[in-house]
């Protein structure tokens, strides 16, 4: 029911469309483009947008458009897996803590609080440095930090749900915890999880961009949006387009996801409105 409302909103459709477009092009489009993202050509270095290179080239003569698309792909992969780790670990820890209670709860909550106090930035940086640099380890590091707020939220929900009649009934009937978690709590937490996931993707992309700028991101010659922006920063006073286009892409991407998340969040909330309330 509320899905139809989401889809009816044109704004949201536009965002969804854009995101899908990005995904499609970045994953499939590289075959269509004439230039390979890593193909260097020093004679063509630092050219502005032209017919041959739609968005220009970078300092090694690599086509910027191709690089950006490849970068989007990498950023998306990282964001997707980081989000996956985020919601799965966060949900499991949170629901276990909230539902089971007692010693388990105290322990897990203590763990959550501990992670909450340690500066997340620190953990990510440490992990990325300790684990070998590489795609996989970046999203592991990000996931290792992102799950904490999620777990907190989910624990809150689970804690409220644990006294609900239908949960108690299930327990009385002898259902095991894992069953209850999967069948009862998960559907109840679905709105929260969905919103968290949708907002976590842009957060992950931004975090990864930050890591790249700091120098801990993906290794060359692969590029993520962060790497491109970082490179662009070096020379943006002279060749602004090298910075501008990756930044534009990143911002639009993040913006789309944020707007999408917003709409979804509002439509979930709207389900419980009264007759006479404002929109």
């Amino acid at each position: 029911m509320f899905y139809s409302r989401i889809v009816q909103n044109r704004f949201v459709l536009a965002c969804l469309f854009l995101i899908l477009l990005y995904i499609l092009i970045s994953f499939g489009g590289t075959f269509l483009l004439p230039h390979h993202p890593n193909a260097q050509s020093l004679t063509e270095a630092n050219r502005g947008p032209s017919f041959a290179h739609w968005l220009g080239t970078d300092y090694l003569g690599r086509d910027l458009l191709a690089r950006i698309l490849a970068g989007v792909r990498v950023s998306l992969i990282i964001a997707f897996f980081a989000t996956l780790i985020n919601i799965s670990v966060g949900f499991l820890v949170g629901s276990a803590a909230g539902l089971i209670g007692g010693v388990v709860d105290r322990f897990l909550t203590g763990l959550i609080d501990l992670f909450w106090c340690v500066p997340p930035f620190l953990v990510v940086v440490m992990l990325t440095v300790v684990l070998e640099p590489g795609l996989k380890n970046i999203f592991i590091a990000l996931g290792a930090v992102f799950w904490v707020p999620t777990a907190r939220i989910i624990r809150g929900e689970a804690y409220q749900l644990r006294n609900a009649p239908f949960i108690r009934l299930a327990r009385l009937q002898g259902a095991g915890y894992s069953r209850i978690i999967l069948l009862h709590i998960l559907p109840g937490c679905f709105p929260v999880l969905l919103t968290t996931a949708i907002f976590s993707i842009p957060d992950a992309i931004l975090a990864e961009a930050f890591l790249s700028i700091v120098g801990l991101g993906v290794t060359a010659p692969d590029a993520s949006l962060g790497v491109l922006i970082s490179d662009g920063l070096q020379s943006f006073r002279v060749y602004p387009w090298q910075w501008f286009f990756p930044v534009l892409t990143l911002t639009m991407f993040v913006l789309c996801f944020n707007l999408l998340g917003d709409m979804i969040h509002r439509s979930f909330r709207d389900r419980t409105k009264g007759i006479l309330e404002y929109d």
Binding site: P240, T251, D279
Partner: protein, 307 residues
């Protein structure tokens, strides 16, 4: 109250110990060592190791470190010989803190003001405009914003200066860059809380009793919407005060953030550990203070039920 403070202090201490330990051992797990960038003769390297106690077994190093920590001695920097970590932090923290503090104040003032306006005029044009701006603020990463501002204001329009920390006006751009994202978050937070509070019985009752809208919003509604923001500003203050690497890099500010990142790259064990500990300390203190603030603002916590 006292028990709460004690329990909190104990917990914080525990966290600090964990953080110290983690940092200590993680750093030593990293490939490379502090002197890898310099081509050194093996003998000299041995001497250096001995000087900094790096030739001892790790567990002894750890215990020595803890002992020094108890004296608030964070050791010497391995990369900047002759300078202690304490000195470096004492030099660079004020820079970060100045920018961070201004950004914090700006973000709070702007965020609360806009959030209240958006909440009061919900669904009408001020709300939509403010929401749009805040979504933009959330989506533009500070490295983009910073560089963009520099490009527009400093290079093209030549209004505001780029770097160098000489005059107060130099701080305008970095503070703006730093404050944008938190301001957006705070705006949304307050807006959500205000919308919830404005539906409550006591607000409706206040309106029906003939109280003016300004008084109702500011005296009755706002104090009830603030707690969420206060809790958020604890970690926020810590993050802002200890400096953002990107902002410092773009605006060439000699702040704590820059030192932090470079010292990781340099494998400067002591400096990394020192700054980490300092940062955790700031985080714990600011969270603690803001929690106390929220606690004291809530009459239900201050006065036990006497009916």
């Amino acid at each position: 109250m006292l028990t709460y403070i004690l329990k909190r202090a104990g917990f914080n201490l525990g966290v600090m110990v964990v953080v110290v330990t983690l940092t200590f051992f993680l750093m030593r797990l990293l490939p490379g060592d502090p002197f890898m960038s310099q081509r050194l003769n093996p003998e000299i390297k041995e001497n250096l190791y001995a000087k900094y106690g790096l030739d001892q077994p790790v567990s002894k190093q750890y215990l020595d470190y803890l002992a020094a920590l108890a004296r608030f001695d964070l050791g010497e920097s391995l990369k900047y010989p002759g300078r202690t970590v304490n000195e470096i932090i004492a030099e660079s923290f004020p820079v970060s803190a100045a920018v961070g503090f201004l950004a914090l104040v700006l973000a709070l003032v702007l965020g609360v003001a806009l959030g209240v306006l958006a909440g009061v005029w919900q669904s009408r044009w001020p709300d939509r405009l403010i929401l749009a701006c805040s979504t933009l603020g959330l989506s533009i990463p500070n490295f983009a914003l910073g560089a963009g501002l520099v490009y527009v204001f400093a290079l093209k329009l030549k209004i505001l200066p780029v770097a160098m920390l000489e005059r107060p006006v130099d701080l305008v751009l970095p503070v703006l860059t730093l404050a944008a994202w938190p301001a957006a978050v705070i705006t949304r937070l307050i807006r959500t809380e205000m919308i919830e509070v404005l539906k409550k019985d006591y607000i409706i009752a206040a309106m029906v009793r003939g109280l003016g809208p300004a008084s109702v919003v500011l005296r009755h509604a706002l104090p009830n919407a603030l707690p969420a923001v206060i809790h958020y500003s604890g970690p926020l203050a810590a993050t802002l005060l200890t400096g953002s690497f990107i902002v410092e890099k773009i605006f060439a500010l000699p702040g704590l953030g820059q030192y932090y990142i470079t010292s990781i790259g340099n494998r400067d064990y002591n400096l990394v550990a020192g700054i980490t500990i300092f940062y955790t300390f700031v985080l714990l203190i600011s969270t603690f203070l803001t929690d106390l603030l929220a606690f004291s603002m809530n009459p239900q916590c201050r006065y036990r039920n006497e009916s």
